[in-house]
């Protein structure tokens, strides 16, 4: 990708320290999970989750994660999952308590519904980091645990810009409301619309930058043995990604509008036609957007992130192609609809296989010589302890 050029200067430094004698060898990623087996796991998990009034959920989740990770072979060695379901159970109870209290507050005291939301927003970066730590620390390859090294301050700093639009929104609406007190409703409505428009535009313009910040923190915190990854993609690459995604969604809209126009022209001025067309077009939109836009963004974002994530001796590469992913998504949806949802586990396995097998890892030098420093456990930072105690895992 062209966007790389601005970062090449920084890449030369660490790379130049590498002993050039060490050859790079690729490790293929393979996924060996099967749809029929995951179907059985899913059904049994579902029954147990239902009859225990969802208390079995963390155990089901641990089994599911273990299944997916154990069936992901890097080189010829599978990833391990070591999450303790009892710890995940504590985290689940915490989330359950939060959910129930949010439900109670929003139903019984709707004027206070912002309070739990505010608490969640303030805690969110810490929870996110804790769940990344939990997932990475409980994932191993060749017996060595991965880890997440991003710090708490970094998590808050990278998410901070998210709060600014929300704050601005509140302030602008407050100002508009007080300015239009007593004015006729039409003027107030116009001002609200203008303020909303400006904010939406500003948020859209800043969204790729926010995404870049978050992903740089996330992909800059992965560690295995002495290796620490960094994301070598600039903000420009994320803007490119967003603009192309927007182009694809405009194309979809144009396509829908074109189909609508053709059918309307064929129906020819009949007044009832517009009424019949609208639900039909809406249904088409429900189909076209998830079938085209979601696979497009999924494949492009995965490629953007993983082709640019590397450490001194590890390089990732992702070549997930759009066409095959669209075909797979269409097939999955069709079968899910035909089987009333029973195909869902198969769809999940097939998608995981395509996404994982599009990736490759290449390692420089002899992995056997690497050594993990003593990790985890003995650090004693509060965030670590809380994340580990509650096994917080939000399914990233």
């Amino acid at each position: 990708m062209a966007q790389h050029s601005e970062f090449e200067a920084t890449e030369v430094l660490p790379d130049s320290r590498l002993p050039s004698s060490e050859p790079a060898h690729p490790l293929d990623i393979r996924f060996t999970g099967s749809g029929s087996e995951y179907f059985r796991i899913w059904i049994v998990n579902l029954l147990l989750t239902l009859v225990t009034f969802t208390l079995y959920w963390p155990f089901a989740r641990a089994r599911r994660l273990a299944y997916f990770q154990n069936n992901t072979l890097v080189g010829h060695d599978p990833l391990g999952f070591h999450g303790d379901p009892w710890k995940m159970f504590r985290g689940y109870l915490l989330m359950l308590m939060f959910g129930v209290s949010y439900w109670a507050v929003s139903n019984f005291a709707p004027t206070l519904a912002w309070l739990p939301l505010l608490v969640l927003a303030v805690l969110w970066p810490a929870l996110w980091r804790a769940s990344l730590q939990f997932r990475l620390r409980n994932t191993s390859w060749r017996g060595v645990r991965l880890s997440f090294t991003g710090d708490l301050k970094g998590a808050y700093l990278c998410m901070l810009p998210f709060f600014i639009p929300v704050l601005l929104m509140g302030m602008v609406f407050g100002a508009v409301a007080s300015a239009t007190q007593g004015a006729e409703p039409g003027a107030a409505g116009a001002m609200f619309a203008a303020a909303t428009g400006v904010l939406v535009l500003a948020t859209t313009a800043l969204a790729p930058w926010l995404l870049a910040r978050i992903k740089r923190y996330q992909h800059g915190g992965y560690a295995f043995a002495q290796e620490h990854t960094r994301l070598h993609a600039g903000v420009g690459a994320f803007y490119g990604f967003s603009i192309r995604s927007m182009g694809v969604s405009l194309l979809c809209t144009a396509l829908l509008a074109g189909v609508g126009a053709i059918v309307a022209a064929m129906a020819g001025g009949f007044s009832g036609a517009a009424l019949v067309m609208l639900p039909f077009l809406l249904a088409l939109a429900y189909l076209v957007f998830p079938l085209v836009l979601v696979p497009y963004t999924t494949s492009r974002l995965q490629n953007l992130l993983w082709s640019n994530t590397r450490s001194r001796r590890i390089r990732f590469d992702s070549q997930l192609r759009f066409g095959p992913l669209v075909r797979l998504t269409a097939k999955n949806w069709l079968f899910i609809a035909l089987t009333l949802g029973l195909y869902w586990p198969f769809a999940k396995v097939h998608t995981a296989r395509m996404r994982l097998e599009a990736m490759q890892v290449s390692v420089q030098g002899d992995v056997n010589a690497w050594l993990a420093k003593a990790q985890g456990g003995d650090k004693g930072i509060l965030g670590d302890a809380a994340g580990d105690f509650f096994g917080i895992d939000m399914g990233l």
Binding site: N71, P78, N107, F108, R142, V144
Partner: protein
């Protein structure tokens, strides 16, 4: 003890990605791991054994953070079995198609039972656990919102309002002489949006629109019946009940669909509340009929109410038919009305109460 089955496998020490050849055997309650460098022993209970599956390698985690990894799954399972180790019930269950189908059937039965009995029972119980003060606040907030959006001040003469209120109070008093009727607060409102209508909010707030009072102006007993129906909703706490039900159904659907889809999850909740609210109407009708009967008014006065409402709906439909294309939107043609009219017409005095 040397006859214990042995297995050559791979071991990782947890510090380095370098693999080491090991030999495994089980001696009593210990797993013995023989390496080139020596022997390690682990209590069997502390080992996190790999679950048997048909795909993937076997990984077992040892208490010191090291890992046994075995590529040939069949070989591993055979060794485990030969060593007399048994696996968890759930693991065997997931490997059997027959057990999976049984689990699927059981899930369907469980969901059906939860839908038919579990959710109504739980929501009714929970609704009755909510303290009255909280319920009243909920109703107050609802009242304020409705007031802002749909309600206008009543144009009925104060005298008529007073007379109707007195008439209803007297009926309630007669039907519940021991004062066991739920507390209520009646208000009259004009409403362009709601038309001829009456509704109850949690906490005993009952609203009747001017349009409905005018529709039944010559039948004050039918108005009492309508108000009694609303008091029935208050008595059964239907407002809270339906709110809890909708949440429980959404939660249930969320469990089944998992991360599959968000927008599908809202559909069953809507369907469920519709089905449940028909039951709620029936309960409120029964309460109203009983209240009328006990206060000395024949419940059949309600028949007039239903007939006039139906007439008005017909007029509305005819008016609409002109400017609306004949779309098959109006699927339900209120079969409920017939059933409800029959209920009030055929009401028999409670034999237990002479």
């Amino acid at each position: 003890m040397n006859s214990a089955p042995r297995l050559l496998s791979t071991w990782f020490d947890g510090q380095s990605p370098r693999s080491q050849v090991c030999e495994l055997r089980i001696e009593g309650s210990e797993l013995v791991l023989s390496l080139v460098s020596g022997e390690r022993r682990y209590p069997m209970r502390q080992v996190r054994w790999a679950e048997r599956r048909s795909h993937g390698q076997r990984q077992s985690e040892l208490p010191d953070g090291s890992l046994i990894q075995h590529a040939d799954a069949g070989e591993w399972d055979a060794w485990r079995q030969a060593s007399g180790q048994r696996e968890g019930a759930v693991v065997g269950w997931m490997q059997s198609w027959r057990a999976t189908l049984v689990a699927m059937g059981a899930s369907v039965v469980f969901l059906g039972a939860a839908w038919t009995w579990g959710v109504p029972w739980l929501s009714r119980t929970l609704a009755h656990q909510v303290p009255h003060s909280l319920e009243a606040r909920l109703g107050e907030q609802g009242m304020q919102q409705l007031d802002r959006l749909f309600l206008q001040p009543s144009t009925l003469p104060a005298q008529q309002q007073h007379a109707l209120r007195e008439r209803f109070a007297l009926a309630v008093q007669r039907a519940h002489p021991r004062g066991d009727a739920p507390p209520w607060q009646l208000s009259f409102h004009g409403s362009k949006a709601l038309g001829a209508n009456a509704f109850a909010l949690p906490g005993g707030y009952i609203v009747i629109t001017d349009e409905l009072v005018k529709l039944l102006a010559d039948q004050p007993d039918a108005i009492v019946g309508v108000l009694a129906h609303e008091l029935g909703h208050v008595h059964h706490r239907h407002g809270l009940d339906l709110m809890v039900r909708a949440s429980l159904i959404s939660a249930l659907v969320g469990v089944v669909l998992g991360d599959a889809s968000g927008f599908l999850a809202t559909v069953p909740a809507t369907l469920a509340t519709q089905a449940y609210s028909r039951d709620a109407e029936r309960d409120a009708d029964a309460f109203a009929a009983q209240l009328l009967d006990r206060s000395g008014v024949p419940p059949s006065v309600m028949v007039v109410f239903f007939e006039r409402i139906r007439q008005q709906e017909k007029i509305d439909e005819n008016e609409d038919a002109d400017d609306r294309a004949a779309l098959p939107i109006a699927i339900s043609s209120h079969p409920d009305h017939e059933e409800r009219i029959r209920f009030f017409r055929e009401w028999q005095t409670d034999p237990a109460r002479p």
